[in-house]
Amino acid sequence: MSGILNIGTRALLANQAALQVAGNNIANVNTPGYSRQSVVLQNVAGEFTGSGYYGKGVEITTVQRNHSEFLTRQAALSSSVAASDSKRLEQLRQLEDIFQGGPNGLGAAVGDMLNSFADVASAPTDLTARTVVLTRADETAARFRAAANSLAELKQGVGIELNASVAAVNSLARQIASVNEEIARSKGTGQTPNDLLDQRDQLIREVNQYVQTTSIAADDGTVGLFLANSHPLVLGTAVSQLTLVSDDFSDPSKTKLAIQRAGQTTLLEEATLGGGEMAGLLRFQNTDLVEAGNLLGRMALAIGGSMNEQHQLGLDLNGNAGGNLFNLGSIPAGLAAASNTGTATLTASVQSSPVSGTTSFAASDYEVTFTSGTAGNIVRLSDGQVSAFNLAVTNPAQVDGLDIQIGAGSATAGDRFLLKPFSTASGSIATAFSSPRSLAMASPVAASAGINNTGDGAVVSLAARSNPAPAAVTLTFTGPGTYTRSDTGATPYTYTPGQAIEYDMVPPATNGWSLVVSGNPQTGDTFTVQANAYPTLNAGNAETILGLRDVAMFDGAVLTDGYSGVMAQVGVRVQSADFAANISKSIADNIEADRTAVSGVNLDEEAAKLLQFQQSYQAAAKMLQISQSIFDTLLQGMGR
């Protein structure tokens, strides 16, 4: 009798508890990090009698948390990688907007500027055409500066976001440590603290959004969280502080993550960080943004530099030699590593001899390492190309169109410098003057054909290579394919039709002038190259500047095609980041689906369970009713 009552009561309580758990599941259906719970029922051991074992009902063993350690970890990991990729993509898309193509892009501005010289070539004295050239040049410089500004703003935005992320990670780490403590404390109860575990898993997921962690469970129920594979962020209840530091060279364009533990600061290398938004941001800032800045800076320095050089080879409307067309600012000095023991400073400038370096720039930073006081290696950081230098033999050292030398002090072996030659050019480029009369469009040299020439030789082009022009030189053709020069007497030189005759006979020709004659000069025909007597109506230098459009300048691409290369390079970066983000996102989504398949609440399931346990509850209640009616029957029988 009491058996049936007891069984009924137990069943009633168990099913009520099951209903409560189902209700809790329904209530938490949208709670992030909540793991579905279920009651574990067990039958109470039966009572032995002579006629066998009689069951004593049901009891609840525990409330079980449905979750898979493996899937939870994988989901956190994959979402961390996805966060990194999508963060980088988000930033790259903003970067891409700076490098727009089409008729409003920087490339078109450069092209228009160069093309505008054609109008000056047609009308050398037309001040309107000259003003147009200056306006276009100003516009181009402004575009460069605007692009550099936008890059700086992006960098600033990344910096703010990184700082906020570091603060968030540090706060999350502290919360994890305190949850760890609570979990350890409840270890003695014998039951798993389901909600605390959910809370911790959720906190770990949140940390992983910022930076990828590895978690290792300890025996006391706490979890250790490690960054970059081995650096502890949380160990039990102890928390290390995450900070942002600059790199070894105090490079202003880069930041690194570091972890402070027991008074020690450890640098976390970017490559070991794995996923997380911060990894994406750091990669964007330290790689993509630096590369874009270098590409832009190289364009500014190469185009501005080569146009300055050519402009200096001309004469302005007042007959004076041209100055700089653009102010470019000087190449910043090398950044010394903190570990340097020498006193040397490292300076770099655009190579000027034997030929100008403006056409051989590589868009990269360089790391210079001294192996002795004067010698060492220069590493081009974009592709790791190493070139040795020895300042005792060749000073300055020449790499990729740059002159590199010790500015002051002396270096010792092991000293390292970071050289960022293109970091400031595009931000500082500006036109150097605003008077259209100062545009040096006339050539300082002029070629004249002998008045008694019998051949049909005509002047195709004459470009000055130095300003002012050297003393007059008369070329006299002495037969097909040979000529003599008035400054070298009777020495015959070979003439190849269509090829330039250089004032400097020995390459690289950097002096005097370069003359191209067409047609067939006859024996006795002369051409004299001398100082230009009529510079006012001459636009020889404008024509040579137009020729700059076809100068191979950016890794072999001509000047006017330089921008399309930059655009494509940034575009490819965005495209591949997009692929990466798509893939990592779909992986993360799949694993998350798998995880929620185990841990997530399904409302239909819970509804079914509600019905199931409700019915069981009703049945148990019925049992009590029956037990009561049996008792009543018994009592009634007794009463008679």
């Binding site: 259906v29 109506l537 006017t560 655009m567 997530g600």
Partner: protein
């Protein structure tokens, strides 16, 4: 397999968002008409389109420059034509001045008209194009390349001719070669009666009969009259060798030596002479000035006719040079036309390149858009349908 309800909602919502983004991308392509709206859509195509655009704007510049050069050449060509017809009128007047019945005053009148024509021709030589660049400045010159000084006209410029290239024709012609290089005499030698002659002697311009025998030396033909018989001797004054001596002189008969032949007319007096010198070059204006002064200063019909004969030959060779230059200008104008045609073709080509690289195939674009739209609609509908299903609907 079970599904977490919250996750199915999230996932479905995310998919809807994705479809929406896709659709807005398709719409952007349709409205801009471009397949590539940012470089990452197709980096290669974007840079191709960018390069084509650069080439196009450069071609536009080339075309503008060529148009200016063509304008200048057209003006130069017509200026040369105008000059030729003015010189033609000058020549006609010179011919009329040779009329032996004219007296000094008549010749003076003609000389005045000739001076007017000469000044007109001179101003044509200094003509400039619409940008103020002299048409005949050669390789560079002062604002006015020809200066009329007392010593004669000087060319203030750099002699020589710019060559035409694949994209340009010269915008200025070589003034030195056109205006300043008229060969004197008949182009090989000059004949001039000695100014101290006392008899009436005049000659034609002479001709070359045997080019192989021409020496290019100076000669003198000296006449001597003895006993009513006129003889002549020829001396090479450069080498001081006597070429012929004691030849009988007949007026109107050719005198021939060393490959040269000339006709001497008149009745030379004893010790009269005719000088022969190799041809030099002189400028067109000196030719005209010589003709004017020859006609103005001629005292007799015969000396006028010598001046006229010489002037006509030189004017003709000067005119030849102008006409040759005019032909050359015409040739360059033809070349400019060819270049223009090629550029027009190239423009079409580049435009096609650019379009191929970045423009949207509208048919494909619209079809893609509709496909995406249908997909989105289906997604929305199925979402709404599926969300209606819940077991709770059936529990009362």
């Amino acid at each position: 397999m079970r599904l977490g309800t919250a996750h199915t909602y999230d996932a479905a919502l995310e998919l809807l968002m994705k479809r929406q983004v896709e659709m807005s991308g398709q719409q952007e392509k349709l409205t801009s008409g471009k397949r590539i709206n940012r470089a990452s859509d197709d980096p290669t195509g974007a840079s191709q389109a960018e390069r084509a655009l650069t080439r196009l704007s450069r071609l536009e510049t080339d075309q503008r420059s060529l148009a200016l050069q063509r304008n200048a050449l057209t003006v130069a060509e017509s200026t040369l034509g105008e000059s030729t017809s003015l010189i033609q009128r000058f020549r006609e007047l010179v011919v009329s001045a040779g009329n032996t019945s004219y007296n000094t005053r008549d010749r003076e009148t003609i000389a005045l008209q000739l001076t007017g024509l000469r000044d007109q021709i001179f101003s044509l030589a200094n003509k400039t194009d619409s940008n103020g660049i002299p048409l005949f400045g050669g390789l560079g010159s002062a604002g006015e390349p020809f200066v009329d000084a007392t010593a004669g006209v000087a060319f203030q410029g750099i002699p020589g001719q710019r060559a035409s290239t694949e994209i340009s024709v010269p915008g200025a012609m070589d003034g030195q070669a056109i205006w300043m290089k008229v060969p004197s005499g008949n182009g090989v030698f000059n004949i001039a009666p000695n100014p101290a002659n006392t008899g009436a002697v005049w000659t034609d311009m002479g001709q070359v009969t045997n080019p192989g025998a021409v020496t290019g030396d100076n000669y003198a033909i000296a006449f001597s009259v003895a006993a009513g018989v006129t003889t002549y001797s020829v001396t090479n004054t450069t080498t001081a060798i006597t070429v012929a001596t004691g030849q009988p002189f007949v007026s109107g008969q050719a005198i021939t030596f060393d490959g040269l032949s000339m006709v001497v007319n008149g009745t030379p007096q004893n010790a009269d002479a005719v000088q022969i010198s190799p041809s030099t070059t002189m400028d067109m204006f000196a030719v005209l000035d010589d003709a004017i002064s020859g006609i103005r200063n001629a005292t007799t019909g015969s000396s006028a006719s010598q001046a006229v004969a010489q002037a006509l030959t030189q004017i003709d060779s000067g005119m030849d040079r102008l006409q040759a230059a005019q032909g050359q200008a015409g040739e360059w104008l033809n070349r400019a036309d060819t270049i223009t045609d090629a550029q027009a073709q190239q423009t079409v080509q580049l435009e096609a390149d650019r379009s191929r690289a970045e423009d949207l195939d509208m048919v494909k674009g619209i079809s893609d858009f509709q496909k995406t739209q249908t997909g989105y609609q289906a997604a929305l509908q199925s979402y709404a349908q599926v969300q209606k299903l819940s077991l709770f609907n059936f529990i009362n």
